[in-house]
Symmetry: C3
Subunit: 168 residues, 3 copies
Amino acid sequence: MENLALVTGGAKSGKSRFAEGLVRAMGAQPIYIATAEALDEEMSHRIAAHLLQRGPGWHTVEEPLDLCGALQRTDGRGPRLVDCLTLWLSNLMMQDLDIDAALADLSQTLKAQTSPVVMVTNEVGSGIVPDNALARAYRDSCGAMNQRIGAVVDRIDLVVCGHPLRVK
Amino acid sequence: MENLALVTGGAKSGKSRFAEGLVRAMGAQPIYIATAEALDEEMSHRIAAHLLQRGPGWHTVEEPLDLCGALQRTDGRGPRLVDCLTLWLSNLMMQDLDIDAALADLSQTLKAQTSPVVMVTNEVGSGIVPDNALARAYRDSCGAMNQRIGAVVDRIDLVVCGHPLRVK
Amino acid sequence: MENLALVTGGAKSGKSRFAEGLVRAMGAQPIYIATAEALDEEMSHRIAAHLLQRGPGWHTVEEPLDLCGALQRTDGRGPRLVDCLTLWLSNLMMQDLDIDAALADLSQTLKAQTSPVVMVTNEVGSGIVPDNALARAYRDSCGAMNQRIGAVVDRIDLVVCGHPLRVK
């Protein structure tokens, strides 16, 4: 059975919508684990748009940093949608936390889950090399995270123009 | 029958060449609907290079804004190649026109076409998040457009290194 | 038999690791043709990380510019991994060399190889259009190179989250 899934794609490619469909197909009482924080107006607008798109029936958990804790607390209560890993990584980096340790923890936690987990991530490494070192470090970290979580999950889909390409 | 197709990919991935092949296979007397305007030398050079690549036998229609009108006027006269949707969207945004209404119109117009339409679009959302808000808005709009048109067409191809990956 | 392969993907997508696996499967005594030069600390760090990842058993040839020469000198001695074409292109551009002639030479040289060659390249054209003309020229040249080499090889893989999508 496919218990762990990773959904990737570019900005506004339809990743979240596709991931929501996967989660709904995995069981009743879906749980939305939001890693985003409404720190400015643009982000608030994005969060509200996602909420509208999901529709009713979701239990929402907000967890910008302790994703492993959120997964452990919600296991056994329904399929989970984590949206998204790249924002979580960015939150960790802003707090100067140990990325490597966090990814090792997440991999271990994922393997121990009994209820399904679908995670949304982003393709950020297919543009021109960024000018500034921080952006380069961020895109490298996103790529490394996607490889590492991609090795643990049962399926990977790349969403293009709203449609999935099965990768794993 | 596949009457409507969307071809996407990165810059210089071979999208246009692949789309031209699709259109030629769909019937004689192909029509090229160009959304680009030769506003500067670089753009003139790109337009000339595309013209050379297509070779003879194409009827060219230039239409930077009223894409629905161009489709309606050319329906029944041959298969159409629209190159490209992202430039059209950029033209609409520069004129401050209603994107949502334009996409609704385009979806309706496409569904009513009797001759084939192949549209070229671009992947612009797989790099690092842009610094400036206008670029973020543009890449979000491109993504939303690709999802919306992707829902209407019969097939979607992602072109990578000159070769198509069938998405839909 | 698949003698020539092109492996593409975004930054840190797992391209090199996948390409290394392909080369190892193609024969004993693999040869690593490195196009990178350790011009600064960040690049030295990246080169060292790739070296560690490959592990022992590779013969390394450093060749930032004369890739055709390196291929000719190593033919018949084992399968080759070229990592990567985009850095090679960037080296050519920095020396103001003729890109078109270099790509024609490379295509001819590749067709004449008797031992396998796996080449790593990068997707750099799926972000927002860059502000500066040099970056636009570079991403156009990368795309054109990927199309041209993509036409010569027997297989193309797009690596996403560490996993390959077969393109050709």
